[in-house]
Each structure stands twice: as structure tokens, then as C-alpha cells.
Amino acid sequence: MDILTFMQQMVNGISLGSMYALIAIGYTLVYGVLRLINFAHGDIMMVGAFTAYFAHASGVPFGLAVILAIFAAMVTGILTDKIAYKPLRDAPKISLLITAIGISFFLENLFNVLFGGVPRAFSAPDYMTKILHFKGMYIPVTVIIIPTVTLILLFIMLWILNKTKYGMAIRSLAFDIPTVKLMGINADFIIMLVFAMGSGLAAVGGIFYAVSYPSIDPLMGVIVGLKAFAAAVLGGIGSVTGAVIGGFILGFTEIVVVAFMPELGGYKDAFAFVFLILVLLFKPTGIMGQDLERSRF
């Protein structure tokens, strides 16, 4: 193993980790306010990727297609909440969880019926797929663009959560919904914001995934979604920073295992779940997580 290969793999790990991180943030945000594992989140990412695909394929410039995809994912996320989750706010959490699984199946099968299950090649513009040659390393521009955009989005997210009144409301909601209402705050509006932000980030993650692999299909969100969920739990569900750390750990592990132990390559999808099981066994609150159940009133 020479230093070049090592560097190359690091770069790939950062890129894959960024994708997981973007998607994991949505899981963690929704869990934070509703105590719900939103199993439809991976499929919302798929909706984003499909929107970008069709928009770009019909001649819309790529940048605009990305914005449309973010918008479509946000609308899907918000509608999911309004139609499926909101009527169950006072229901047992298990009802909410089952509903989330139902929404996930619904979205997957809806897209299967509408567009067919055959994977479609995702064509990104040249500036996204170029490969730079740098000191003997081959660096696809995506591995620069993806972490950069991820970091920018992460800082925006952290700024919103820590510095704006809406972010404070999101953090308060995680602990005490009735008292948030006593502040004259429309809790449902704040929950809507959470779904919009999480879904928008998932769309960006979905597009990065589509550009990197480069194909999309209606079930693309299943395994990526589950892995991002594992990343969120690893980092400490409820914590945005934790979700990002978890995403990067997972991305690195996958790349490193495949690169250095190619004979284990076929098991790469299993590592996320090994992590998930280990975390749940030994440190259920994850790396950055707080004991939310206990601290909630």
C-alpha cells in the first residue's frame, strides 16, 4: 500500500461519508422532534434523485434540476408529515413507525409503477464527472464537490439550529412540545420546517449518489437509507453533529474495508449493520447522543 493509494482511498471515503451524512441528518432531525425513525426518508432521497434525473433529461440545466429536486423532496417530506404522521401525533409511537414503513413501501411502489424498476443511467454534466489527474492520483471532481457542498450545508444547518429562533424552537421541541406551544409557537409549523430541511438535504445526498454511481432506480433509497440510519444511530440519534460524524465513520469504513481487504468487499453493505448492532449493544446513545428519553418531560 503506497501513500498515493492511501490518499486516494481517503478522498473516496470522505466523499461517500458526506453522502451518508447528508441523509443521516434528516433521520436525526425528525427523530429529535417526533421520536420517529422516518423509514420513508431514504425514499424521499429517491424522489429527489428522480426529479433531478427527469428535469435534467428534459433539458433543464443541471443546477436548476438540483433546485427542483430539493423542492420536490421537501414537498414530499412535508406532505408525508401532513397526511400520514400528523394525524398520529398523540398515537403510540409504534403506530407512527408502522406508518413510516407503509409510506416507504408506497413511494417505492408508486415510482416502480410510474417509471418501471429498470435502473436508469444518470447523466450529469461534464463538470460533475471530470476526473482530475493530480500527482499520480485520479480524483473525480465529485469527490471535491461532494464534501465541500456537504460542509457548507452542515454549517448552514448548525447555524440555523444554534443561532436562529427557529433552530431554538426545534431544539426545544425535542424536549417539551406542550411548553413550546405556550411560547405562542406553532409546533406543527416547526415540525414542517424539520421535514423540509431533512428532505432537502436528502435530495442533495440522493443526487450525489446518482452522480457517483451513476444510476437510479425506485429502490435506491432502501439500502442507502438504512445505512444512513445506521450512521445516525452510530453518531447519536438526535444530534446533527453526531449524524455527520457517524456518516463519515461509515463511509470511511466501507472504503477502507473494500480497498485493503478486497476479499471482504462483498460484505461491504453489512458493515453498517454490524456497527448498528454494536452501538445498540454497547452505547445505545451513540457517540454524541444524549439520553433523550430520560431528559424529555
Partner: protein, 231 residues
């Protein structure tokens, strides 16, 4: 300012409040006293539509029926909930910001006012609210409610779990707020302390109003003294 007619609250088939009438006039301190389970907290929650209720609640000439809790708060009704319920994972200052969620333009000014009114929380403004003592949390909960510049401030058991000296401070603060023009609806088990600062009071018993009248008269009444003020 607040007129309540035939207010009823049911939890399933169990009645918590059985058709009570009461009124709060501008500039008054009114207390609602009674023992545990008399329906005091249910009454406050019902006024804000936090729980299902029947009956008529008119606030400032405005029928509150079919309005959500957060809209009623925006209309000038504020509640300091039982057990204080400050946001323990937010700093003191962030708690005040939450109180002024719909009051952006006056936030900075009101915040300074609150730090003047409660110097102890001003000294700890960047600490997490969870690290404050019980008395400080109560002060913060009151300050947070005041950040919305309410017309009617409702306090649910503000003396609960506080040392007697701190209870005295809290009640002094409530009197001061009334003098500054805020109408107060106070719910208390600590009947003596509540009556001593109130203009009028209603005594709740099993979800019904047992006695009502001027606080001065109630405090001097022997039967009340025996039953609610501990002899």
C-alpha cells in the same frame, strides 16, 4: 378581561372541572385555590385550549373557542406552567428568546428589562437553564412568559417546591408585575400566600367553585382558615 362561563373538562368519563364560572378584571390578581386534584391545572389548560373543554371562555371580548394554544398566546394570554418547564437544554438567554418568538422587535429591550427585574438570572444568561436552582428556574419561567408581553399572565403553582424565602420573592414579583399593569391569574395550593396578594379568589373543590369572594374576607373567614389555610 377574562370571562369564563360553565367551563367543563372531562378526562374520558371523569370530570375534572364541572361547569365553573369566574371572571378576571383588568389590573386584578385573582387566585384559584384548592387542594390537589381540585381541577386548578385543568382549568388553566382548558383556558388555553391545551385540553378539550366545554363552555364559554371570552378573553378581551374575543371568543377563544376553536383557537389553538399558540394563537391564544399570541393574543396576549401567557401561562407559566406547573413545574416551571424551562427548556433545560437551552441557555437562559435562549429561553427568553423562545418567550419572545413572536415579538422580535421588542426582544432586545425586554431581555434587558428581565435581567433588571431578575438580576440573578441575568448573571447566568449563558448557562444552560437546567443548571439553575429551582427558584431561578421559576424566575426564568416567569420572565420567559413576560417576553410575549401578555395582557393576562397565568401562573400554575409558582411556589411549588421552593424554599419559603424564595416563595416570598416570587410573590413579591407577582405583586410588582400587577403594579406595572399586568393582570394576573394565580393558581395555588399555598392558599395563604396566594390570598395575601390577591384581590379576589375562587376556591375550587372537586371541580366546582365552593366559595368565592374578596381575598381579604376569605383570609379572615374561620371556616376557610380551618379547611384551606391549615387552621
Amino acid at each position: 378581561m377574562l370571562k369564563v362561563k360553565n367551563l367543563e373538562v372531562y378526562y374520558g368519563v371523569i370530570a375534572a372541572v364541572r361547569g365553573i364560572d369566574f371572571e378576571v378584571k383588568e389590573g386584578e390578581i385573582i387566585s384559584l385555590i384548592g387542594s390537589n386534584g381540585a381541577g386548578k391545572t385543568s382549568t388553566l389548560q382548558a383556558l388555553l385550549n391545551s385540553i378539550k373543554r366545554k363552555g364559554e371562555v371570552v378573553f378581551g371580548g374575543y371568543d377563544t373557542k376553536n383557537h389553538k394554544t399558540h394563537t391564544l398566546v399570541q393574543k396576549g394570554l401567557a401561562l407559566v406552567p406547573e413545574g416551571r418547564r424551562v427548556f433545560i437544554n437551552l441557555s437562559v438567554e435562549e429561553n427568553l428568546r423562545m418567550g419572545a418568538f413572536n415579538n422580535d422587535e421588542n426582544y432586545e429591550h425586554l431581555k434587558d428589562e428581565m435581567y433588571k427585574l431578575f438580576p440573578r438570572i441575568g448573571e447566568k444568561k449563558s448557562q444552560m437553564a437546567g443548571t439553575l436552582s429551582g427558584g431561578e428556574q421559576q424566575m426564568l419561567a416567569i420572565a420567559r412568559a413576560l417576553m410575549s408581553e401578555p395582557k393576562l399572565l397565568m401562573l400554575d403553582e409558582p411556589s411549588l417546591g421552593l424554599a419559603p424565602k424564595i416563595v416570598g420573592e416570587v410573590f413579591e414579583t407577582i405583586t410588582r408585575l400587577r403594579d406595572e399593569g399586568i393582570t394576573i391569574l394565580l393558581v395555588e395550593q399555598n392558599a395563604y400566600a396566594a390570598l395575601s396578594i390577591s384581590d379576589r379568589a375562587y376556591v375550587l373543590e372537586n371541580g366546582e367553585i365552593a366559595i368565592s369572594g374578596d381575598a381579604k374576607d376569605l383570609i379572615g373567614d374561620d371556616s376557610i382558615r380551618e379547611k384551606y389555610l391549615g387552621g
